[in-house]
Symmetry: C2
Subunit: 366 residues, 2 copies
């Protein structure tokens, strides 16, 4: 045998980048000129859902321009590979080039699938997020997580793919249906719980104004959410450690959402997941019943469920938790807080070990 031949292929460093988030009320009609001034004549493709289109926001965004696009049925059930294939083939049929900008106008499902379509179309084109829901404006439009579900778990397929710009018009929240509106606010509560006690107090004392959808308060909420999320994402864009803190309440929350067959909205399931995290904290000596009561109160104030329904079995949840993206040896670490606004860390880890029997015990009481 000859001696082995060896070569090394160098992969060059990628430059630092960044993107701007603009927050305001009633400026959707001026978003298209902003996109054109940033991206020029590049091809555009708009992805939205039938609810957003019916509410008139698609017309307001494109205002008479002839723009190719794809309108998906609303809801998590659209967030799969079949929809992705239909979107990509529509993009191909529009003869779009590699300089294309995909514009995601919608909630979390639209943003996640549009971001993923942009990530994989011709090996990657740009995406601009124009979130229309409390969930997307607080969370999913920022940070570059994209993906679709498999038949087994949420976001089984996906990429990290940062948007090139984000436009948050809180005026679009006025027409959001009440259940979705409320559920999406759970991510704001989560941000406060993991990063900012003062913001938690702001949410508590402005709950009525938030539920009345007062623009000035909604802009402040959007700004705080973006500020907190941006800080975390900048420190750890691909979730090696610190970014995991954004999963507070989500490990059990995702499992409940899947196990409910998506009858529960993401935020509703995460609300239950946040309560579960609080119960784990108590079991582990990191929190007390009084703090959990305060958290439960704001979630109930938002109209969230705080207990799982009886038809969701403990064993189904445990099986889904074992498949969690963050699992190592079939068991994930959990994000816990030690005070409101501060994530509990052990040995520099933002997600910590919790034994399976502790989780099973909590699920039994949930």
């Amino acid at each position: 045998m000859n001696p082995m031949k060896e070569l090394t292929v160098k992969v060059p460093a990628a430059d630092a980048g960044g993107y701007r988030i603009e927050i305001g009320t009633g400026f959707l009609g001026s978003v298209w000129p902003k996109i054109e001034s940033q991206f020029g004549a590049a091809g555009k493709f708009v992805i939205t859902d039938t609810n957003v289109a019916k509410a008139g926001y698609l017309d307001k965004l494109v205002s008479g321009r002839n723009v190719p696009g794809y309108i998906i049925p609303p809801g998590e059930m659209s967030k799969n590979m079949n929809t992705l294939v239909l979107i990509i083939e529509a993009m191909e049929n529009a003869y779009l080039a590699r300089d294309t900008v995909v514009i995601a106008l919608g909630g979390g499902v639209v943003g996640d699938i549009a971001g993923f379509a942009a990530a994989v179309f011709k090996r990657g084109v740009k995406v601009v997020q124009v979130p229309t829901t409390t969930l997307a404006q607080a969370d999913s439009a920022i940070g570059g997580k994209t993906g679709v579900d498999s038949s087994l778990s949420k976001n089984a397929f996906g990429c990290f793919w940062h948007p090139s710009a984000v436009y948050i018009d809180v005026a679009m929240l006025k027409t959001l249906d009440d259940r979705q509106y409320r559920a999406g606010l759970v991510e704001s509560v989560k941000h406060a719980l993991i990063a900012d006690e003062k913001y938690f107090g702001f949410l508590e004392s402005n709950l009525d104004a938030i539920l009345q959808r007062q623009s000035d308060v909604l802009e402040k909420v959007a700004y705080q959410n973006c500020r907190i999320k941006a800080q975390v994402v900048e420190a750890d864009p691909t979730e090696r450690n610190q970014r995991r803190m954004l999963n507070y309440g989500h490990t059990i929350g995702h499992a409940i959402e899947s196990a409910s067959g998506f009858e529960l909205l993401h935020g509703e399931a995460v609300a239950i997941g946040i309560i579960a995290a609080g119960m784990i904290e108590i079991e582990m000596g990191l929190g007390d019943g009084k703090r959990l009561e305060r958290i439960r109160k704001i979630l109930v104030g938002l109209g969230m469920p705080v207990k799982k329904t009886a038809n969701i079995s403990k064993s189904a949840l445990i099986d889904i938790i074992r498949r969690d993206k963050k699992a190592i040896n079939q068991w994930p670490r959990f994000v816990l807080i030690d005070t409101i606004g501060h994530v509990h860390r052990t040995e520099g880890q933002w997600a910590v070990e919790v034994k399976q029997d502790v989780v099973e015990n909590v699920l039994g009481k949930l």
Copy 2:
């Protein structure tokens, strides 16, 4: 209206990286220990096809270890989203974590789909390429292009996703069927044409030894291919400009491959595409009939077709070319050479303008 609120999210720079390519004869049996020493206890998942498994290479690679994996039917027809979904769900059912290493054991289809699966599973895990064909060892296993086809075009879905290691054992070429073996050598001819006249001469004078599959010559061919491709990919990993030179013969070649319904192998279609490029060069005063004759001779020596069949219409080809990934305003630029070993550039561009009527004219004569 309140003044707009603005934030900027910073995306940190990504460090430079790299990966090693090892080339040898008959070392497949020692590849697994090499992978284990590089990646430790991380979960492994092997993707291969039934032909490779039947030839005994899967057994040789894993040698009795119990490794989860997925075996796809051979051929371009497997390279689609349905297969990707089956692979990802098999990975989920193996409860694989984010530290997973996907091992691609096979030809171009296996490598492209396994690389894409790695790119999107849980938003990205590592992939090791163990190419088994002349095509994959010369080209597709190196450089980080991954993807699957849509019903409309090749690699419509995909990511740039660099392998973490590449192991090229030319002994596996001994059992490759003759048609595939020969077609895969067209990428070697392409590398010589765009980058190295001396290498072109080497291929001409060693054609018999290559067709007899002599290991020492095959190792040299593999080394030259990797050297040339690595240089190009390092200079331009995401194909903004220089990397386009690797598409020599591929714009028309891809169209012919698609239009044939994949009855032509990739290399066979690219051989015709290389002839077409040579004819365009003559039309544009960049080459003469003598040079094209020399190129035609080596392709015919490999047993390649050098004319399109009559059932492939010019209009079908033009339509596919308009959808090309590299097209801007529905017409791509073309890579041309001015001498063997040297790509023609205008104004620093490695792919240049060719008018549609020139291409139509050439397709008419092809």
